[in-house]
Each structure stands twice: as structure tokens, then as C-alpha cells.
């Protein structure tokens, strides 16, 4: 052993006590360790809260998307689902669950629990918290606040507006502001950008007309007949449900109503084709595109 080694001259205890005395080494304060433990638990709590918010917003997004009329806005179910799933919030939730588990594992006794238990408890807590928040309508509020405060953040309201304020693609969002002289065929409608439209309502069902006449914000499905003159042919009216609770039953009813409408349009089309064929053989000069119902030809109905 090296002769110069101080351990050789004194035993370990004496060396340590001398060192503690000479360097005035003191135990770190209890507050330091308590503070650290509290910080870890605070981080855990924050992770669970953010995770719960992510769940609340995800639940809100998932339960408020228009599964019943996805053909109205998307080519197929797959493209619809790609847009529906709140990926960003799912990623946030995953990160928060990981962070919460990491924090628990680093508490004094966290190592005693298996990673599965810790992860499961964080996920369950976030889900419970998220469901409670969504129960009180906070999912919508948080999403809307984030959308208002952050221009980059696409809240569900912004996405829905973007999807439905597309006159060129046959979708409008807004409310009826006035009836015309020919109330049974045309009404005045103001979209969310403030533009006024003449809406042709001849092909609407009575229930649609009633909904439109309520003056509440609604979504119109149809076809723009003249963009310059702002003439829109309405084929369906759907309520604007972004800011209120929608049950699965209501969504199912909306789906049935939409499918019923499509069938009716198809029957009308078949009838029109038969009439056209009769006309064709009777008088070829009478063939006119306008004799075909507009709604039967719009993309959403064809899908």
C-alpha cells in the first residue's frame, strides 16, 4: 500500500471525523430534502392535471365530431378519422403519463411499485380527472380558450368552421336572418364571415326548414349555384352542436336522418331519370340540366 496514503496513517473513522471537522461539513438541511420531495410530487400532480386536461379535450373532440355525416365533409371514413383523432392531445397525454410515472418512481418510496402499476395509476387518474372535467364542460372551454389565445392552435371550433365554411364545396355555416317574399323557396342566410346568401330551400325537408327558421347557427349542405350573386341551393340542415352536449343517441339519430335523406334523394333521382327518359323520347329539345334535382348530384350525396 502507498506509504503516502493518509488512510495508512489514521483509520477511516478518524480520517472522516477530521475531514468533517476541518472542512466544516454539515448534513444538508431537512428542508432541502422535503423541498425536493415536494417538488417531485408537485411535478407529478402537474403531469396528472395536464394529462387530465388532455383527456378532457380528447373526449370532447371525439364525442363532438360528426360521425353521422362524415360523408358530408370527407371522402371516406379513413380520411375522416385521421382528422378526427386529436393526435396532439393523445401525444400530450402519453407524455404526461410518462412524466407522472417518472416522478412517482423518483419519490422516496416510488421504486417499490412496478412500472405497470405506476403507469396504470397515472393513466387511471388522468382519465378520471379528464372525465370529471369534461362532465363539467371544461373540455370545450379549454379548447376554445386555447383557440382564442393561441392563433397557431386549431381548436375544434376553428376546425369545424374551416370545414363547414366552404361555399365552393357546398358547405356553409351561419344562420337564417330573414325570409324573402317567396319564403317557401328562398331565405336570407348570413354565414360566419358576415356574407349574406340567398338560400334555395325547395329540396329541404320540413324538419330542416324548421331548424333553419329557428335563427340559430346551423350547417348547410348543398351546392353554390352562383358565387358572385351568393346563391346557395340547400340540401340539408344540421344543427351546430359544438358548444353543447351531444349524446350518442342524438348522433345516431342524425346519422339515420342523413341516410334517410340520401335515400330519398336517390329515389328522387331515379324518378327524375325516368321522367327525363320519357321527355327524351317525347321531345328531345326539353332536356335541361335544371330538371335534375340538384341535391342528387352533390358530392356528399354521391358518397
Amino acid at each position: 500500500m502507498n506509504e503516502n496514503n493518509p488512510h495508512n496513517k489514521k483509520n477511516l473513522k478518524d480520517t472522516l471525523l477530521s475531514m468533517i471537522e476541518a472542512e466544516n461539513v454539515r448534513p444538508r438541511s431537512r428542508m432541502f430534502f422535503r423541498g425536493r420531495e415536494c417538488a417531485i410530487w408537485a411535478l407529478w400532480f402537474a403531469s396528472v392535471v395536464v394529462g387530465a386536461l388532455a383527456v378532457a379535450i380528447s373526449v370532447f373532440v371525439v364525442t363532438h365530431r360528426q360521425y353521422g355525416i362524415y360523408e358530408a365533409t370527407h371522402e371516406n371514413w379513413f380520411t375522416f378519422m385521421v382528422e378526427v383523432l386529436p393526435f396532439i392531445w393523445v401525444i400530450v397525454f402519453g407524455l404526461m403519463a410518462f412524466l407522472a410515472s417518472y416522478n412517482i418512481k423518483h419519490t422516496k418510496r416510488g421504486y417499490r411499485y412496478s412500472i405497470v402499476t405506476v403507469l396504470a395509476s397515472s393513466i387511471v387518474l388522468s382519465f378520471a380527472g379528464g372525465s370529471a372535467l369534461q362532465f363539467f364542460g371544461l373540455g370545450y372551454s379549454i379548447d376554445a380558450i386555447l383557440g382564442d389565445q393561441m392563433p397557431m392552435y386549431m381548436s375544434q371550433e376553428k376546425i369545424e368552421h374551416q370545414l363547414w365554411q366552404q361555399p365552393a364545396e357546398g358547405r356553409l355555416i351561419g344562420r337564417q336572418v330573414a325570409a324573402t317574399v317567396a319564403t317557401s323557396s328562398v331565405v336570407v342566410f348570413q354565414d360566419t364571415t358576415g356574407s349574406r346568401w340567398r338560400i334555395e330551400i325547395q329540396e329541404l325537408l320540413p324538419a330542416d326548414i324548421q331548424l333553419l327558421a329557428s335563427g340559430e347557427n346551423v350547417r348547410l349542405l348543398g351546392q353554390t349555384m352562383n358565387e358572385q350573386a351568393r346563391v346557395f341551393h340547400a340540401c340539408g340542415v344540421f344543427s351546430w352542436t359544438m358548444n353543447r352536449e351531444v349524446t350518442m343517441q342524438q348522433m345516431s339519430e342524425q346519422r339515420e336522418s342523413f341516410l334517410g335523406r340520401v335515400k330519398e334523394m336517390a329515389q328522387r333521382t331515379e324518378g327524375s331519370i325516368a321522367d327525363l327518359e320519357k321527355d327524351l323520347f317525347a321531345d328531345a329539345t326539353r332536356i335541361d340540366e335544371k330538371t335534375m334535382p340538384v341535391c342528387a348530384n352533390i358530392a356528399a350525396m354521391r358518397r
Partner: protein, 217 residues
């Protein structure tokens, strides 16, 4: 025995505060448990010497088993361990056993030592022949490996060095440091269930190593 000065103080009604000079041996408190010594150390640092006395030999052996073979290195590691223990005395959770806590610090310091020195724990004897015989004849609930009792200490040591570190650490604590499952859980900061799993797998890997050695021979 009270000194003359202390006797005078007592006669005057003062109770003298007893100080332990550096060179005076601290009256050994064998009736005090580790946790009580820790509490006393926080009031008077001289009590820390008792902790060093109690654990120096055990931890030196443990550090050696973890792969710090050189006696000077062992002392360096132990010095760091005890200083860390002293600085972090307030972090000691009295719901744990003090021995588990100090073993945990030692384990972490030994691992840090390898990393600092950039070396692997090898070429050391984990246990002597007597301990190995005890290990080979130990019957654990989870044990289903039967070892050939004729294997010698060198072979077992060599095999122990070949198995994965996570298994070796648990085997060392269980069979050579004679720690209970919950103590190993506290030392290695893993769930108690994982201790059983690691032990089971470790013994299996060790048996494979010993059998492959036997085949080679």
C-alpha cells in the same frame, strides 16, 4: 469519573455538557440501534464515528464484491460513501432500515466509481469457499437449479463474473450479504417482486454458466 472542574460545576448547580474530544474514544452505545445513532449524530457529529465503526468492515467487503478490488480504491470509495451518508443524514427515511439506506449509497458509489474509472468489475473474488458452499446449498423458494456440489470456489466466482450485472448484484446481496427481499428492494430501488424474478433468472444463468464450464472441462 467527573473531573474536578465538572464537580465544581455540579456543586454550583450547573450540569456540564459532555463533549467528546477528537482523541477520546466515544463511549460505545451498543444498546442504541442505527436509527437512534443517526438521530444522535444530527445533534453531535462525534456519534458518526459509531456508524463508521459499525459499517466499515461490512461495506468494505460489499464494495470488494461489487468489483472494487484494490484496497486503496476500496478506502476511497468508502470515504466517499461515509461523507455522502453524513451530508445526507436528513434524507434518511426512518421507515427504511438504516443498513438498507447505507448499502444503497455504497452500491451507487461503487457504480459511480466504475464509471469514473471507466473499468468493468472483474477479476475479483466475490466470495470465499465457505460462503460459496453456503450459497450452493441454500434452498430458496424460487430456486429450482441444482448445482453440482463438487464445483470449486474459483469456478463459481468465474461464473458469477460472467452473468449479467443485474443478476450478480441481487445474488451478492441475497446469498453473500444475507439480505431479505425487502432490504434488497430498498438497496437496489426495485420492486420486491422484481427481486424474486432477478434471483430466479440469475441462478438459472449461473447454473448455465457452471454447466457450460463443466462441459468445456
Amino acid at each position: 469519573m467527573h473531573s474536578m472542574r465538572n464537580r465544581c460545576f455540579i456543586l454550583l448547580g450547573f450540569v456540564p455538557v459532555f463533549r467528546y474530544p477528537q482523541d477520546m474514544k466515544l463511549a460505545s452505545p451498543p444498546d442504541l440501534n442505527d436509527e437512534e445513532i443517526v438521530a444522535k449524530t444530527l445533534v453531535d457529529k462525534q456519534f458518526f464515528g459509531e456508524i463508521v465503526d459499525r459499517y466499515e468492515a461490512k461495506l468494505k467487503r460489499y464494495v470488494a464484491r461489487l468489483g472494487v478490488r484494490n484496497p486503496e480504491d476500496q478506502l476511497d470509495v468508502l470515504q466517499d460513501v461515509f461523507l455522502k451518508v453524513y451530508k445526507n443524514l436528513n434524507a434518511f427515511d426512518s421507515s427504511l432500515q438504516f443498513s438498507s439506506w447505507i448499502y444503497r449509497i455504497t452500491h451507487n458509489e461503487a457504480i459511480s466509481w466504475y464509471r469514473k474509472k471507466n473499468v468493468r468489475p472483474e477479476g475479483h473474488l466475490i466470495a470465499d469457499s465457505e460462503e460459496l458452499i453456503g450459497f450452493l446449498s441454500a434452498k430458496e423458494d424460487t430456486q429450482d437449479q441444482d448445482f453440482d456440489k463438487t464445483v470449486n470456489a474459483t469456478e463459481v466466482n468465474a461464473a458469477l463474473l460472467k452473468i449479467e450485472a443485474k443478476y450478480r448484484e441481487v445474488i451478492i446481496l441475497r446469498f453473500f450479504e444475507h439480505k431479505e427481499y425487502d432490504e434488497i428492494s430498498d438497496i437496489l430501488k426495485i420492486p420486491v417482486g422484481s427481486v424474486g424474478t432477478l434471483l430466479h433468472r440469475g441462478k438459472k444463468q449461473l447454473a448455465n454458466e457452471l454447466n457450460s464450464e463443466a462441459i468445456r472441462m
